[in-house]
């Protein structure tokens, strides 16, 4: 899909498989908003669901090979509950940190999904939160995109304020409702500056370094980007939410390629269809009419990469993950 040829250093990606289906419990996701990749192919998916289906608000734990593990968390204001869960991050022991944009707090669970602690309070003073949206953990610190305060704050893992950067605006180092945060291997910080339709890069100290992207639909342009990840080669992956695509940028911000979705039925999807034979027919007729609907991403809310070169896209409205592999060698297609 690359619009021009840059040579062998350019990356290509192949669709591998999908995981999940739309479901309010168990083997599927409902309006998932973020995910985290753990050890042993584990993926944690936070489901926002919606108000009249509070049973769908939960964290689903499964593997990238579509094995269901468990789920935890529920709708509410109590400990270990969520109203508007927005982002998830893991520390090195695989403790789980989840932000809640409505309750203005971060909840910590252990790797079994047991509630450990919570921290955060609403406000605009240093260390207070107003709409914590994105999380990223680096060693013993956690970055929080404090969306309505238009800044990124850094805390210790137990919630002690360490530092912050950013302010409201559209200049360099300024934000308009930042959302996702990604880190590269050198500790640089990437923030999706959501309502400014761009990605900003900062060094470890929070000093602005670069800005990628402008509003629009062309390559390298964004429409409300909400998640950013960086792989071991330094390539940058952005979920370009309202453009229904993932854009891959080179470390210098140059556009490499975009992914728009290549979905094939997952195993859980097949299970669902087999017990609903009439829908098998309906689906087949629909595919003959238009196959794009099934393949394409719909409002992807997160993109994550792992060290195996897998790129995992949280294809939100369709309730599934689409998984790609980054090719090390050229692939003849």
């Amino acid at each position: 899909m690359s619009t021009h040829l840059f040579g062998l250093t350019d990356r290509t990606f192949s669709y591998s498989h999908s995981v999940g289906r739309n479901e309010f419990a168990g083997t599927g996701f409902r309006n998932p908003v973020d995910m985290a990749l753990g050890a042993d192919d584990i993926v944690y998916v936070i489901n926002r669901a919606y108000e009249n289906r509070p049973d769908g608000v939960r964290v689903t734990v499964c593997t990238l090979n579509e094995e269901y593990v468990t789920e935890f968390g529920s709708y509410g204001e109590g400990d270990g509950q969520f109203i508007w869960p927005s982002s998830i991050a893991l520390d090195k022991d695989e403790n789980i940190y989840i932000s809640d944009e409505w309750l203005n707090r971060i909840t910590v669970f252990d790797s079994n999904g047991e509630f450990v602690s919570k921290w955060g309070e609403q406000g605009s003073a240093q260390g207070q939160l107003d709409g914590p949206a994105g999380l990223a953990i680096s060693g013993s610190s956690i970055y929080v995109s404090d969306s309505r305060n238009n800044r990124v704050q850094k805390f210790s893992l137990d919630g002690q304020f360490e530092s912050s950067f950013g302010e409201s605006g559209d200049g360099s180092g300024q934000f308009n409702m930042p959302w996702g945060i990604g880190l590269d291997s050198s500790g640089n910080i990437y923030v999706t500056d959501w309502r400014n339709d761009r990605i900003q890069q900062f060094d470890q100290s929070g000093k602005w370094q670069a800005t990628f992207g402008t509003p629009g639909t062309a390559v390298g342009q964004f429409n409300r980007p909400n998640s950013v990840s960086v792989d071991k080669d330094g390539d940058i992956y952005v979920s370009d939410w309202l453009n229904d695509r993932i854009q891959v940028l080179a470390p210098d911000g140059r556009f490499i390629t975009q992914l728009t979705g290549d979905h094939m039925l997952s195993q859980w999807g097949k299970d669902k269809m087999i017990s609903n034979p009439d829908m098998i027919r309906q689906r087949q007729l629909a595919i003959t009419h238009s196959s794009d609907f099934d393949k394409n991403f719909s409002h992807p809310t997160a993109v994550k990469v792992n060290t195996d070169g897998q790129v995992v896209v949280l294809d939100s409205t369709r309730g599934r993950l689409q998984i790609y592999t980054k090719n090390t060698e050229p692939v003849l297609i």
């Binding site: 739309n22 108000e51 109203i83 269809m273 719909s298 309730g319």
Partner: protein, 472 residues
């Protein structure tokens, strides 16, 4: 500012929208009546809902699937869309071009139909009928998907004429014959829906209109005296040129925006309440080549409209939304909209699911002993919440009237601030004597202030419970 300007503007914003806070009424009154009407009539010149924010906090509202989510999203739009007339018009068409979720079984299609009414409901009536006739939800609801060249299903053809455009008759005459119904239905054969993805496992695709020429009846049809190989579009052209259609649209606009009319089935025998205004609306219909906005311009600038204050029983959506706009709740995106979105249903108006193609019975028929309890409790619960910004604003204004206010001044102030509500002498007397039990109101000390706030909340609750508050 002259009191009458405020009263007139309150009336306009209540009818051409879902009411407004006193502050907005005052700024609109300063802007002027005709200028406000023009602003309402040209919604696309002004910003609407910030959808990116809405979808960020309520991701399920982006391409909403479940019926409940679609109703919630619409409720949010009704409360918050600055283009208020668009929402009012969407509700208007939903109450005439009735299709319901219980048959369609796709919340998404119901939401898309309302979106179509929102975006096109103030445009050209012929275009709107074309969109309606190609609306997959409507095609399915009225069985046009089951109407074939070899086996015609007359449902859509009939309802298009009877309920969506001409009406059965006017001035005691019939507008069309049974043969016209058959010809109309034949003209719409082949107007169908393309296959769509089922709900499982990843959610439905939006239904799409598809014309199947092989299933379309190509033979000659005689419709309203004209013979030819008519397709659906030809029918719409002929229908839109009929005086009956002008009358039908005019009476519906009058019934919804001006004053409760007799039920639609009686329109053939019963002349319009206000023949002069109806005539002016019919003239605007033809002069503008069927433009709904042109008709609304005539309507809102007419003396009949301006004088028709508190003459209509609020429908449940109006009751809920106007109360929330008055008290200033749910103007941010926040949890709780699901409960709100169910309230009209409790009051007898299950939005996106009218009981039949004939829609809801309106006017005083909205009210029975069950729905009245729901209406009163809802409105008085909200008006009694003195911490809500709109109610707080009312209390602040009451306090600003003086250090001491008499019970009578207090009642006058409350009635004024809930939208210059007009009440009968008996109701007024009861409210004043209720206020008199605790005497004058002052707000010097903290205790007096607390009393003032409490009494204001109680008085507003009583006003919300009056029979007069049922009118808008």
């Amino acid at each position: 500012m002259a009191n009458n300007d405020i009263a007139l503007m309150t009336h306009l914003l209540r009818r051409a929208g879902f009411g407004a806070s006193r502050a907005e009424v005052e700024s609109r009154a300063a802007q002027g009546y005709e200028s406000t009407v023009e602003e309402l009539l040209n919604p696309n010149d002004h910003p609407g809902i910030e959808e990116d924010l809405l979808f960020r906090y309520q991701p399920a509202y982006n391409e909403p699937a479940a019926i409940e989510t679609n109703v919630q999203q619409w409720m949010y739009y009704m409360i918050n869309n600055p283009r208020q007339l668009q929402e009012k018009v969407a509700l208007f068409w939903h109450m005439i071009f009735c299709a319901g979720h219980s048959k369609i079984d796709s919340g998404q299609e119901m939401g898309l139909m309302i979106k179509m009414f929102r975006e096109n409901g103030m445009g050209n009536f012929r275009d709107l009928l074309m969109l309606l006739s190609t609306s997959p939800g409507m095609i399915y609801y009225l069985d046009n998907s089951e109407s074939h060249k070899t086996a015609v299903n007359e449902n859509y053809g009939r309802e298009l004429l009877e309920l969506f455009s001409m009406g059965v008759g006017k001035d005691e005459e019939f507008n069309y014959s049974e043969d016209d119904v058959k010809a109309c239905a034949r003209a719409f054969t082949g107007w169908n829906i393309a296959p769509s993805y089922p709900p499982f496992p990843y959610g439905r695709s939006a239904w799409e209109f598809r014309f199947d020429p092989a299933d379309h009846d190509e033979s000659d049809k005689t419709f309203l005296g004209q013979t030819g190989n008519w397709n659906g579009e030809d029918i719409l052209d002929m229908v839109c040129g009929q005086p009956a259609t002008a009358r039908f649209v005019a009476r519906h606009l009058y019934n919804y925006f001006v004053a409760d009319e007799v039920p639609v089935p009686s329109w053939r025998q019963t002349p319009p309440k206000d023949p002069e205004l109806i005539e002016a609306l019919e003239a605007a219909y033809f002069e503008s080549n069927y433009d709904i906005t042109a008709m609304l311009r005539v309507l809102f600038n007419s003396e009949s409209f301006k004088n028709a204050r508190y003459t209509k029983v609020k429908n449940p959506a109006e009751m809920v939304v106007s109360t929330l706009r008055l008290v200033g709740d749910h103007q941010d995106i926040k949890p709780g909209l699901f409960e709100i979105s169910q309230e009209p249903k409790y009051m007898g108006m299950d939005l996106m699911n009218p009981p039949t193609v004939e829609g809801w019975h309106t006017g005083h028929e909205w009210i029975d002993s069950g729905t009245l309890v729901e209406r009163i409790n809802f409105a008085s619960d909200y008006l009694g919440q003195t911490n809500l910004p709109g109610v707080k604003g009312i209390v602040d204004r009451l306090m600003s009237e003086g250090e001491t206010i008499s019970p009578k001044q207090f009642v006058d102030g409350c009635l004024d601030l809930v939208g210059q509500l007009q009440v009968t002498d008996e109701t007024y007397g009861e409210l004043v004597s209720h206020a008199e039990r605790e005497g004058d109101l002052t707000h010097k000390s903290d205790t007096e202030q607390q009393d003032f706030v409490r009494r204001s909340g109680e008085m507003l609750q009583m006003i919300a419970a009056t029979s007069e508050y049922q009118f808008g």
